[in-house]
């Protein structure tokens, strides 16, 4: 049974589940490190998923779809910035508002633009084709894991070390870390923390937009209301557990993505869907409990 569960089609499916969580979490990491408590990743991502379908449908290009998704995510980031950074709104309240706004707005636009409710499925939606890497594709098992994925998977993988270097060596990355740890010191040095945080929200919006694009024009070619289905929240957990560090964040996102993938596969073994849907969240709880136990042992 285990062989069936972890066969090579499992390897092929894991990146599809990992990519949206990882992209959204990388965006969340920017906010986390810059000291913006942003738990609106779900809303950013859902908006991105809708905008991707919109862009891909009207332009006929998945790349323009992804671009539309990034712009939509950035727009949501700017909404967040306006209410949190400029008007001083509580970040939790603003996050909840943005999440509700995204759910309502995408459902409304689905009706207003495509005249359907629930889901929009049309052959004119140009999705991403899998990228086949010539030599890698022929390696057994690993080939199916690393080759034949959407371009956004490779973008996400490259973004992990890139973000690490960005935080370590780039001026804006350094300032983001300072804004997150001791904004008063940044201000005393003549740099406005909220301006740095605005950039973090813009970057977060772009990453979450891509995460949404992976859901709607790479994994499938359609938009379903609330199709982010809690992945933004799992990304939030990954961000908080890794404290915004790209490398641990990658590992956590992979674990969550694998469990997400497994939960689909075990449905094939006759487990009720209600149980399999719980798996990502149970995994989250297990990781949370395990980590707090480990940290407590470390501190004594």
């Amino acid at each position: 049974m285990l062989e069936l569960l972890f066969d090579s089609s499992f390897a092929a499916s894991v990146p599809r589940f990992v990519t949206p969580i990882l992209l959204a979490a990388l965006g969340g990491a920017l906010c986390e490190r810059a000291g913006v408590f942003n738990i609106a990743l779900e809303g950013f991502m859902l908006t991105g998923a809708f905008a991707a379908v919109l862009g891909a449908y009207f332009s006929g290009s998945p790349y323009l779809g992804a671009l539309a998704a990034m712009l939509a995510g950035i727009a949501m980031g700017l909404v967040f910035a306006e209410f949190n950074l400029r008007r001083g709104g509580d970040p939790i309240v603003v996050s909840i508002a943005v999440n509700i706004l995204a759910a309502g707005l995408t459902a409304f636009l689905l009706r207003a633009i495509f005249h359907v409710t629930g889901a929009f499925n049309d052959p004119a939606i140009a999705g991403f084709e899998p990228v086949h890497i010539p030599l890698v594709a022929s390696i057994p098992y690993v080939g199916r894991l690393l080759s034949g994925q959407s371009i956004l998977f490779y973008v996400a993988i490259i973004a992990v070390p890139a973000l690490h270097v960005f935080f370590a060596r780039h001026r804006l990355g350094l300032r983001m870390r300072a804004a997150g740890e001791n904004p008063a010191a940044l201000e005393a040095g003549g740099v406005s923390p909220s301006r740095v945080q605005l950039w973090a929200l813009i970057g977060c919006g772009a990453f979450c937009g891509l995460a949404g694009a992976q859901l709607s024009i790479a994994n499938v070619n359609l938009f379903v209301e609330n199709m982010s289905a809690g992945r933004g929240w799992i990304a939030v957990v990954a961000v908080l557990l890794s404290r915004g560090r790209p490398l641990p964040l990658f590992l956590i996102a992979v674990v969550f993505g694998m469990v997400d993938s497994l939960s689909f596969r075990v449905q094939g073994f006759g487990l009720p869907q209600q149980f399999t849907d719980m798996m990502p969240y149970l995994a989250t709880l297990v990781v949370l409990v395990g980590l707090s136990w480990w940290r407590r042992r470390q501190s004594v």
């Binding site: 060596r169 001026r171 350094l174 300032r175 300072a178 001791n182 010191a185 005393a188 040095g189 003549g190």
Partner: protein, 506 residues
Amino acid sequence: MHVALSGITVRFGALTAVDDVSLAITPGEIHAIVGENGAGKSTLMNALFGLVEPAAGAISIDGTVRRWTSPRGAIAAGLGMVHQHFMLQEEMTVLENIVLCSEPVGRFGFVDFAAAHRRLKESADSHGIVIGLDRVVGDLSVGERQVVEILKVLYCEAEVLILDEPTSVLTPQEKDRLFAILKSFRAAGKAIVLITHKLDEVMEIADRVSVMRGGRLIASGRRAETSKEEIARGIIGGELPAARQRRPRAPGEVVLSVDKLVAAGRGMAVGPITLSMRAGEIVGIAGVSGNGQAELVQALTGLRPSISGAITLCGVRIEALDVERRRQAGMSYIPEDRQRVGLALGATVAENANAGRDDRAAFSRGPFLNRAAMTRFARSLIERYRIRVGGASARASTMSGGNKQKLVVGRELARATPLVIAENPTWGVDIGAIDFIHGELMRMRDEGHAVLLVSTELDEILALSDRILVMYAGRLAGEVARDEASRERIGEMMTSRAVDALPEVA
């Protein structure tokens, strides 16, 4: 670089914090600005540095009037400031902290750390400063952190260096090192402004002294032409309080005994600590901030769980009790952080004055609070401690730091418990309030209470304590009786140089 302030006035609402102050800062000079807390020293310098905007007045540099509304302009003009509370990123390295906000950037906005490293090494070497640039600031001692702050200023090529209370957190040895660096700066022709309230240091290092009181500049002149007494009279605007009489007193019963107490600390375990205190004595715990004093106090008061060991207060084992039960067992606590631990700033003075006492019959009627009794009690504290506040129903946040502290001290001491724990009780309060708080602690001692005084101010420890314990790296590094105590001896223990030479403290 000559800096001239003329007619600087800063207002916060109705309060005039700095009132028409004119001052000249000359290169190659160390200029001390002295005064009580709230005299306007820091505000004046914040105005110069662009952190607050003056309502009137002008700043000129080398004869030209300049204006800036943020530190950026001040830094560009060649000013640098080391704040009283360090402005550092603890999770970053020394180098990252130093380049932050003025990063040398190469292509695509990436920071050229190698260039920064070279440039910094050069200027640090020329002033005899030694520090590991790749160390994480969180791992540094307070003295080393200050060096990082100074390097930050040096890196921006500041010609005028402003230091706000730079020695308040340093050991005597670290202070000497700092002064050596400042002298090197002076020799290099930089201007140094030293904000302080320690007159010994003024006499030791300053070339020029300016005295501020109530927002005004009272006097300014060459240090060589004045005396410590004259400066002190200028600061308080009258005669000095008389030296305190100390009544000899035989210690009484054991009030508190701590046996092999271990508590979790930040990055280290604190303890095992064994100590005992008797009625009618003040035991001082000296040490550089961050050597486990805070953890020890929290473990005693119940704010932090202890890992092992026993605490006995008036014959009752309390290590497993919660904060409320420990207080009932006979302990009161003057916390270091009056803003967050000592007071609820959003609540009224009356509510704060009764915090922790509302279970008593005198302050409640059944399950309800007795507002009239609470107000009466708060008024009695306001009167007795001469707390300057709008009234018992004013919010605690409206009081100045010294008045907030008086309210905390008054509330805790009014409980008249056998044990009083005072943690940096005079931190950031003015000379008048310091004198009053010291007097109250001595009164408690004379009346037969045991007072545990935890302080990073060595002068305070030496002035009040009957016995002095020194903490270093989470343990007691030694004990000194009052008669044998000297700054040098304690200073050495504070840096553990003498730890091995000392017997185990019983």
